[in-house]
Structures are given as C-alpha cells and as structure tokens.
Symmetry: C2
Subunit: 225 residues, 2 copies
C-alpha cells in the first residue's frame, strides 16, 4: 500500500471505466468484477473525486446506472461521462441533425435532438441493429450529403459477451468510412476532448490525476480493492 | 471508326466487365445497357478473342450466364472469369478450408471445397447475409486462428440497385480487417493475378490488348456499338 500512497500523492481525482473494469456483461445484465464494488466505495471514502467514464453506447446512462446499482455500486447518472450526451452537445453546437444508427436502448439520449431531414450520421454500437438494410440506409444518407459527416461513438474493435466476441462500433465505422471515402469524427474514448470534458465535470486539471489508473483496467481495480 | 481501327491495331483480345457494362441489375434480373448486346456480337464477329471478366459474387457463373442469355447475349460459362472459381483454386493450392460469408447464390461454386473445421474466411458480396450475427461468426472464426487468413472476392465499395446504393464486399472486408488487425487477400479485380488468369484462358499476353477497354465501362460499350 505504501507504493500506492506514493503514486497517489498529488492526485485529486480518478476516472473509472465501467464495462470490463467494474463489471462484465452477460446474462441478467452482468456480474461485478471481483473487488470492484469495494474498490469504488473505498475511492469515494478516500476523498478523491471519482467519475465514471465509459464508451457504453448500447444503453442510456439511466439504464447503465440502474444496472450498476443492482450490482451493488453506489453512483448517480450525474457522475457518468458517456459519448451520447457529448455527441448531443456537438450536434447542437454545429446545427447537425443526425440519422441515428444506434441501439434502441440509446435512442432516449437523443430525444431532444432534431432528427428531421438529416445532415449527418451518428453511429454507435447498434449490435443487432447493424443489419445490411440499416447499414445501407446510413450509407445512403451520407452519400446524399455534399459534405458527409459521420460521428462515431467510440472506435472499439470488439467486445466480449457470453455468446462470444462481438464486433464493436469501430468495425462498422470503418465500413462506412471506406465506402464513402471519408473519416469519421470520434466522440468518446480515446478522443482527448472526451477525457477533458470528464475532467471539467470533476473540476480537476489533467496534471492532477494519473490517466493510467483508468486505462489499466482490471489490474487496477484489483490492486485498489 | 478510323480512330478505333487505329487504336485496335495489334490488339488480339478484349476483356469485358459485365455488371454496369453489359447490363444493369434490377427487377426481373436486370436490363441490357443500350447497344451492349450488339457490341458483344460485333466483337465476337471481328475475330478478336473475347472474355468476360467480372467481380460478380452474388451469383454462380451458371446463374449469371443464364441471366445474360435471357437478356440476349451469346456466351457460355467457359468464357467467364469470376472470383469464386479463382478463390477455389487458391484454397485448394494452399490447403485452406473456408468459412463462407457469401451469398446463397454463390455457394454452389464452393461445393467441391472442404469447409469442415475452417482455417480461413472467404467473404463475398453477401448482401442480406451481412447480418450482425453472420459478421460476428466470421470474426470469431478469424480470431480463433493463430494466423487469421481473410480472402475477399473483390474490394468494391458499393453498387447501385433499384432500391438505391448498396454496400459492397469491400466495406465489410474493411470492418473485419480493422477488428482483427489484419489485411485481406483480394481475389478478383483489381488484383493483377485475376487479370492474368483471364489472359491465360484467352491465350494472349498483356501487351496484346488494351486493359482500358474493359475499364471505361459504359462509355466503351456505347462507342463500340
């Protein structure tokens, strides 16, 4: 523990990833990773500022927080930085009206955004929603635009579920990028803007917390617990 | 015509693309492009060697030739160079047993290939077959291999159908390449090996025919007609 105290000297905040760090998805929503519930509780008791920073894009923050609470974590929606709300800010700031290629569980995050007569595409981990038909529709919307804008919530390659490895949003984003000859704008990790917005909400500067803590995944939560 | 005679001096053979050059797909199989039936007939009468060189990967050569005959073209299966037979040669030569992510119309081309216990993936224009489930299955097969081998029949970005633009095999190949961190081997145009095999079957050398003839698409068939 002495080594940890030394490494944490001067640190004021901690960003924690969620999926694969605090819990693993699976039947009934998933299971907490051993030690993670207690690790989060200890971090919060320690006086460090804690924020949850996720690329989860199958669920709204509300659903995600409900699931985590059922699994024993103590947190609120306001403590979670997720790509969908960040994308909504970006859409409003630039007057963009998205065609949504997203999971049904995520649509509620966009209910205040104008989606009529789309002038961009937002793609997220749509899972079963990545049908040939839905991919073609998103592609057609992009090809009808003079300057196609594709906003991707993360660029993950794949993730693990009980049924095996699943292709993540990054793979499908590559398909649309190639077909249209464009490059997507990524909202979510690993975009620096995304981490900065999480820090802003924490009220700390980048030099006041070690980013590595949230990137080392399971190893970290186990050590802290 | 004088200019054409001059340009064709020394030319012994012609490779013709099929889709978008001889016919456009659509209801009832499609329609011949104006002038193309007569252009093919004239080329064949001219004494030039003619071969049909296509990336068609939704249909077997048999189905394709049946369709073209219905549309008024005179040709046989033996005159068509297509990626699936070329892929079968490659699979046999390298002892590869494919998992097939292909259109049902193409499966008959692979009926002599061992597909048990797959050690590679062959991807073609699967159209509706590009479901999330089928893409994950192909991805899982690749990830279980020590050295993943992905063979892609062409690298087309998209094509046009009556219902609008459709994503082609190239886009889905990019998705798998990105997710696995690999590069696919392309069988079909624009692979030089594919053109060379068509020339071999024609019995002419590359310097004896102008490739541009088959790459200028509609413009060319119209001019020749």
């Amino acid at each position: 523990m002495a080594a940890w105290r030394e490494r944490l000297a001067g640190v004021r905040g901690v960003l924690l990833d969620i999926s694969g760090v605090l819990y693993d998805g699976g039947e009934g929503g998933g299971t907490p990773i051993a030690g993670s519930v207690e690790a989060v509780a200890r971090l919060k008791r320690s006086g460090l500022k804690v924020r949850f920073c996720t690329n989860e894009s199958q669920k709204s923050r509300r659903e995600l927080v409900q699931l985590l609470r059922r699994l024993g974590f103590h947190l609120s929606e306001g403590e979670v930085t997720a790509p969908a709300p960040a994308a909504c800010q970006l859409l409003r700031a630039r007057g963009l009206r998205p065609h949504l290629l997203v999971h049904d569980g995520l649509r509620s995050e966009f209910h205040q955004v104008d989606t009529s007569n789309p002038n961009c595409v937002v793609i997220a981990d749509a899972a079963e929603g990545f049908s040939f038909q839905n991919m073609n529709k998103a592609f057609q919307v992009l090809m009808e635009l003079e300057t196609p804008v594709l906003i991707s919530l993360g660029k993950g390659r794949y993730y693990k579920e009980a049924a095996g490895l699943m292709l993540d949003v990054g793979a499908y984003t590559k398909a649309l990028e190639y077909a249209c000859g464009i490059e997507a704008e990524v909202v979510g990790k690993p975009s620096p803007e995304f981490f900065k917005s999480a820090l802003q909400e924490l009220g700390v500067d980048a030099h006041q917390f070690p980013l590595k803590l949230c990137q080392r995944k399971r190893q970290t939560t186990r050590r802290l617990a």
